[in-house]
Structure formats: C-alpha cells, structure tokens
Amino acid sequence: MPKAFSVTVNGAQVGVTEDMTALAAILLSGTTTLRRSVSGAARGALCGMGVCFECRVTINGERHCRSCQIRCGQAMDIRTDE
C-alpha cells in the first residue's frame, strides 16, 4: 500500500497517497484554476504529461513547478493561481 499523508492546497489540508501527483491533489481539493495566463485568464491542466506548462503552480515556495510531473510529498505546500 502506498503511504498516506496530507498536503495543503491553498492552505486547506488534502489527504493523498505518495503515488499521487501534486496536480491530482489540487484537483482533489476542488481547485480548477491552476494559474493565470499572461492576460489574466483562468487556466487548468491540459496535457497531463509535462509538455504544455499549463499546470504550473507554486510548490514549497518554488514557483513555476509543473504539478503534473511532481509527486506529492509529506506536508507539501501547494499554491495555485499566484
């Protein structure tokens, strides 16, 4: 069984397992807007495989992380739409 723990998405706790990506955690939290486009429109994930860069979020303070390519870590702090 994969290890279970929680991460925070925009400050709210979300229960995840270690085999989940940060993107899955974000969507599980009910958040659909991951980032703002250069003209300010809401954007969500598109390709799911690290190519389109639409799922960029801030993880543990580091900006522009592709959330579909990063596995959840214990107490990970994920912030969207920054």
Partner: protein, 422 residues
Amino acid sequence: MNNSRRSFDVLVVGAGPAGIAGACCAAEAGVRVGVVDNNLRAGGQIWRGETRDSHLAEAASWLRRLASSPAEILTPMEVFAQPETGRLTATSSDGLCELSYKKLILCTGARERFLPFPGWTLPNVMGAGGLQAVVKSGMDITGKKVVIAGSGPLLLAVAAHLRAHGADVRTIAEQAPWSRLIRFGMAVASHGRKISQALQLKKQLSRIAFRAGCWVTAAEGNGKVESVTLRTESKTWKEACNYLACGFHLVPNTELASLLGCELRAGFVRTDNFQESSVSGIYCAGEPTGIGGLELSIAEGQIAGFAAAGQRERAQEYFGERKSQRRFSMALECAFMLRDELRPLPSAETIVCRCEDVKFGRLKEQSSWRAAKLQTRCGMGPCQGRICGPAVEFLFGWKAESARPPIFPVAVESLAATGCVE
C-alpha cells in the same frame, strides 16, 4: 547546484515501451546502458502508473525485464541540450547531469495534437490522454460527466479507462467519418491481436454513445467547462459535462532528434532498417519514426537496442514483426485524417498560443511561422510551440523551425553550466 556525470555505451532517451525494449535488449547484449525519462517512472504514457505487478501482462513483463536488466534507470530527468557530440545535458531534482554516450537511442514518444476552438482554454478542458494521465496519477473522476472528443484510437481507450474509474462518459465524438473508420477496420482485420483488443473495448464501452463524423465546435462555462457544443454534418447540439477530454490523434516528439541534426521526413525521424537515423550512432524507435502504437514501438525498440549494442543479427529477428505492424501504422494515418471543417472553428478572439495568449485574429495577419513568432510571440513561451505548433501547421500550413537549445526551459545557471549561454 550539484553536477554529476554519467557515461554509457548506449543511452536511451525515453522510457516508454520503445525505450524499455531498446534498453533491455542493449543491456542484455552486455553493454553499459542508461535510460532517462522526464516522467516520474518508466512506462511512458501508455503504461503510466503501471508497475511490475500490473494486471496488464505486457506492461508487467516489460517493466520486470527492465528492472532485472543491468540498465540504469534515470527518472525523472529531462534532457535539454547537447553541448558537444556524444554528450547530453539534463536536469533532475538533484541538479544538472551530464550524460556521455557512444550510441544514442531516441524514444521520445508522441504528444496529443490540440486544435483551438472557442472555449478550449477553459479549466477542465483537457487532452483525452491528458485527462487519462491525470486520473492515472490519482485524480478522482467518480461520477463526473465527461465528453470525449477529437480523433484517433486513443479516444476509445480513454473512454474505457475513465469509465472503469467511475466516470459518466456521455459521448465519444470522433471527427473521422464512418466510411474511413470502416475501411480502417478492414485494413487491421488481419491483425488478430488488434481485433481482439477492439472487441474487448466494445464490451467495455457498451451503452456509451459513439459518434463518428462528429466534432466539438465550442466549450462553454463560467470559470470552467460546463457544456460543449457538438456538431455533425446534419445537426448541432449542446451536451452538459464536467470535463471535456479532447485530443486530435498524436504528433511525434522530434525536438531532440531535430536538435541533434537527425533528418526528418514528413515530420518524422527518417531511419534505416536498423532504426539508425541520418546521424551515425543515433537511433530512433517508436512514435517519432511514425505513429504506429504499442506493438510497432516495441518491435522498433528491440531492433534499435540490439543494433546499437552491435548485435545486428539479433536485431533482424524483429524485422518481420515491424513490417506487419507498419501496415497498421499506415492505416491509422489514413483513417484519422483531420477534416477541413475543423479549420474554421477558432474565432478571431480564440487563443491559439496558450503560453503567450496569441489570438487567432492576430495570427491570421501573419505570413509565416517566423513572422508570427517575431510579431506575436506565438510559440515563444515555455512549451516552445509544442502545443500551438501542430495547430498552426494545420490551420495555416506553417511548419515549425528547427529546434534550438534548450529544448525545455531550464534555470539560467543550468544553461550557463553547459556553455549554451555566455
């Protein structure tokens, strides 16, 4: 930033089925092999999330074979430049890595083709393979209403997968007309395995509306997609949904091959009988040589692996399998050709380049891809034209220019360390 150096006789870039097969064969032939992939684990998109214990017998068997082979698996690691012949640079969470090789096998796979239509930038409009990848990575799709649209056999596989995970799949809208799909069915009828896969899919998809000659003209919603407009030649209607999963078949990832000077033909990497590209010592296998699916990728990967390890006789054992699978590849290309009605879908206000928010109306005023880049920044964002490039090619006929390093965005200090910038 930590820097590390690794050296291999055969380096494989991409750990999907072609790369796994290539790495296993080369390593079992006794040379020193490394296989690098930018995803979290080996398996590629088709075997994303599968393990050595997978219920998919073929995935489990190849992943076991890779794990027990002497090949070194380097994931996640993203190759972005070749500062000199025989040496690639890559980034990983530990920092920069230099990868030296004598022979290289490129198994960089494919991505979905996306075409712009009004509303396609709304959250919860994703690729078909995109939504599947996210569900494979742990997202809960239970009870969600999903419309699947676009083109290609992937749509059916995605529908079956999402349904098995509890999604309420409303409609599958395949843009190709029935006439082409039937011809495709006849062409692959000689492939016993493909037929049994198709019959199994049909069972899994019972009671889902499959419409051929049907396409999305718009997605609507407040802050996220709430409905889509679907069209056939005879009617137009709306369908409510929580997700639109929409992709128009696949385009090959040829950026690295192009950077290394490999010759492309009609958008694919040209290879000889032993999967060697126009650059001596650089091999290519799988989707970058032609979209052909799992079995062709594995056959080509085995040929490339043995050939790169100097065992050309063993490589030849897979020529027959490759030949038979290539017939499927040609049938695929013909069946899922894009219809002309998809070209006028974007309005002047529809975004085409999602990175730089370049609208269709502005692109229409340009004369070439180069002019579009200079005047509008189309294709100049972090995806480097991987998403808008194939769309622009379909809409305007402009071909993307050759790749330049870095082929993925990297931190300035990484670039400086490779000598790509001064």
